[in-house]
Symmetry: C2
Subunit: 532 residues, 2 copies
């Protein structure tokens, strides 16, 4: 019996072993597309457009070009049943979505992997502020498209200097995580350089999408955006004009800092390094703020010979020694923030009848050795703010590396910080349900060489202590501006009240004065002299 039980257990282990296999990231995300924002047709549309436009803005920035982005959203007649649950069908129409930009384009041989491979790109290992970051976004949109509409994606690209454009139609071979190129041809395109991506997905249009476009303008005042929508047969257009002709300077790439690199990462960097012959050159070449002299001092403290080959490093000892040496903090001028003025201008544009608009830019700082910078803004009162803020009379627009984060806000450090601030303390009085008496929209923006997103879908920013502290300081500073406004408003209101009060008595006063003087008196000139 005991023997038989053991045999059963052995068989269970053998069966388990047979079931084991490796998956590639395309297989993983195909089965978990909801983790990337493709959970329902409404959200999928916003997510797809966000991924495409993030790339377009990065591609224009890389060339120092003023972005001209054309978006086309076209509802087709095709209907897809997304799922049936106990007789309840969830259906959605297929939308043809295209985004065209005037960026630097993509070299012909890189088009297929850029779109047809999950975790492929130029940004995953770089420490440089950019909208795209992970090499997942646009390929995930293509995965969603081929899973549901079965349609391939079409990419049209022209690099400056080429006589013709390149048009690639492709799908993703999920089992290999490789592109399947269906066609690849050269053709004429009147654009000198740029990219157009077209994808067909089951989608649903919602007002949130228009909101997203408008919020995009806050972080990108130099962008011109035209959105053509064809919904239920009728076409409409949304135009967002740029409010500045200044191309923001391209953010700079930075090297890691010894105060923040993980020992495991450093160990591996050293082991695979093939450009440096000694530890001194390894440290001074691959890390920021380390001169050869500083490198020698660190190695001396770590009791490692300076001429040791990099692969023999003891990363933990080197890093502990580095802590004893006063290194300069990383350079903070690698970022490209939005700017206080731009935020204020964008808020006035978005909420033209608001009573008060203000913004605050904090100086750059670092979290785990990575430069970041926080900016916040606020718009108070008026019809437009009221509509935006909704029934709770408060709303937070969140931006990361200059693009809005349209979903999943409650776990985001920006959202949480706004909720932690004691706003009544800054004059924003609330009712007994804790809601502000006047509608208010906040903006919270983070730019960073690497934004710590809470998930691969990049919906929310993780609560790093340093980022939270900076956000808090920024919102408090904004609060002080709000307090000045509210107390001025209160003073004005109370003066107006006093005047009204006095005015209601001045006829009586006139009578009394007339009585004393023995003749009728006109007090109007006296009153207007007193109160202007």
């Amino acid at each position: 019996m005991e023997e038989k039980r053991l045999q059963e257990l052995q068989r269970a282990a053998e069966q388990e072993a047979m079931r084991m296999r490796e998956a590639n990231p395309a297989e993983y995300f195909e089965r978990n597309l909801h983790q990337l924002g493709y959970s329902d047709p409404e959200r999928a549309l916003i997510q797809t457009l966000k991924e495409m436009i993030d790339n377009s803005l990065d591609a224009t920035e890389a060339g120092g070009v003023l972005p001209e982005i054309l978006v086309s959203i076209e509802e087709t007649d095709k209907v897809i049943t997304l799922s049936s649950s106990m007789g309840k069908d969830r259906k959605a129409k297929v939308f043809r979505v295209a985004v065209e930009d005037n960026g630097i384009g993509i070299m012909p041989d890189r088009i297929a992997p850029s779109f047809g491979k999950i975790l492929y790109g130029s940004k995953l290992f770089s420490l440089r502020q950019s909208r795209g970051q992970q090499g997942i976004g646009i390929s995930a949109a293509i995965l969603y498209s081929q899973l549901t509409s079965l349609e391939p994606a079409e990419i049209l690209s022209r690099v400056a200097g080429s006589s013709r454009a390149c048009r690639v139609v492709l799908k993703i071979d999920v089992e290999k995580n490789e592109p399947v190129v269906i066609s690849n041809e050269e053709l004429d395109w009147d654009k000198p350089h740029g990219l157009r991506v077209t994808i067909s997905i089951p989608a649903r249009y919602s007002d949130r999408l228009d909101r997203y476009f408008k919020e995009l303008a806050i972080g990108n005042p130099h962008m011109s955006l035209v959105v053509k929508k064809t919904l239920e047969g009728s076409t409409s257009e949304l135009r967002i004009e740029r409010t500045t002709d200044q191309v923001p300077p391209q953010p700079k790439e930075m090297k890691p800092h010894l105060y923040s690199v993980d020992p495991g990462i450093m160990q591996r960097m050293a082991e695979v390094d093939n450009c440096c012959r000694t530890l001194v050159s390894f440290l001074s070449k691959h890390f920021t703020m380390v001169s050869p002299q500083t490198a020698r001092r660190i190695l001396n403290l770590a009791k490692l010979p300076p001429n040791l080959r990099p692969e023999h490093i003891k990363a933990d000892r080197v890093l502990e020694a580095a802590k004893l040496v006063k290194l300069m903090r990383p350079r903070l001028d690698v970022l490209s923030p939005i700017g206080e003025e731009n935020i204020t201008r964008a808020l006035r544009e978005l909420f033209p009848d608001s009573e008060f608009v203000a913004s605050v830019s904090r100086p750059p700082w670092t979290y785990k050795g990575i430069p970041f910078q926080v900016e916040v803004g606020v718009a108070i009162g008026g019809q437009a703010v009221s509509e935006y803020a909704g029934p709770r009379r408060m709303s937070v627009i969140r931006l990361a590396n200059r693009v809005p984060l349209p979903y999943d806000s409650s776990d985001c450090v920006i959202h949480r910080t706004v909720e932690e601030i004691d706003w009544p303390n800054y004059g924003l009085s609330t009712d007994d349900r804790g809601q502000p008496r006047v509608a208010v929209v906040f903006v919270g923006s983070i730019v960073a060489s690497k934004v710590p997103y809470t998930s691969p879908g990049k919906f929310s920013v993780a609560a790093s202590e340093e980022i939270r502290d900076e956000l808090k300081l920024a919102f408090q500073e904004l609060g002080r501006k709000m307090r000045v406004y509210f107390s001025k408003k209160m003073k004005e209101e109370s003066e107006a009240k006093r005047f009204e009060f006095f005015k209601s008595y001045y006829d009586l006063l006139a009578e009394e004065v007339a009585h004393i003087c023995g003749e009728p008196l006109d007090v109007t000139p006296v009153v207007s002299k007193l109160f202007g």
Copy 2:
């Protein structure tokens, strides 16, 4: 000039192309470990233990064994600086963490990839309720360990029937996403079958960890758990005894259902299929609730010949045709829920002095064709509940596939549903800040053949419409039980008040009666007769 600008743009595109490269999932998650819960030392400890124990419970379940789990948490003297930000160091002690189980063990040749490869496992492509699911968890803990402490992981495994155990020490080669086996040896182990995993990580102990262990007992009443902690040199032990000797039946694997499979997935299944010669056999073999007759009817409606080879399928046409055929819903007996009684018993164990405990199990249902089942519970009042619920006097314990979800609750459908319910309507009265007047702890549990987590870290359950509806019904049913309790309590309280009121007058009454009768009278026996 124009020519020069074009050249610049061309160079930018060329440089971008040179930066492009592919990343594997190990490289991705190494740079984004905070997305998997390894963001700070406190959380990393809970996350690591959760991943290890999830696997242990799955491994005992696979063998139908009553789980005996030994956890050892040992603080060492080694201190690691996690990061420095402008002179502020974040340090943590290295903990040696080990989890040992009496499960089926792992076959020797599968140990290295199971632990040394991200996205490797037996569960990613299976539709079967299990705690582990994605092939990321434990390898991510090892990534975190080797990044920070530089220590390898140690795995000791014995499969039933083998004379000796196998001990593997390994790291992960992140650039290849492959295990690096440092040593691999056979040795004696007095356990007939089981697994022990040991990892060294920078960590910080917190009470939340003890909470996690206690919550674990709710979903696993058949588990015995011993936790040995060595903190600051002193050792303590936490023991959780099983409250039932019944091993829950192992959940069953299920095939996909035609009402919920994505056309893209079906298309690919057919294209790579190498076991079926015709579409009829493909459909009836690989999908649940499709007989050969039904398959023929579907293919007839889709205008495809039944003998067509699977690779020539038109998945969208087949799926649209399937919608016209009344298919039975998937079998729902594939799940292994916790059970109402077990939840109630666990809550009484956890909160021994609570005033009221209740639970509700809903019948199984499906979301997107995947079976799931919702169970909820509540404990009200008493010291233990009050401590657990904290200053807000309300807390939600969330479980997915029978294990607690310790972090990131606000975006979870379980948490959100509890917040949507109008609890005062069920007798749970609240104060003017909306907080309940008596402390309350809710439990919300989901078991599913595949739980739709919102992120690879498996912190929260996504808000699928069907899951939300079922949770709402469950909590409302629980609410009705609460209402019965509260109204009974109120009645008792008002009767006690009446009695007190009467009692305060009965001496006076006695006097009056004595006065009327003309002699002293003892009313006590009358009163006790009246009120028992």
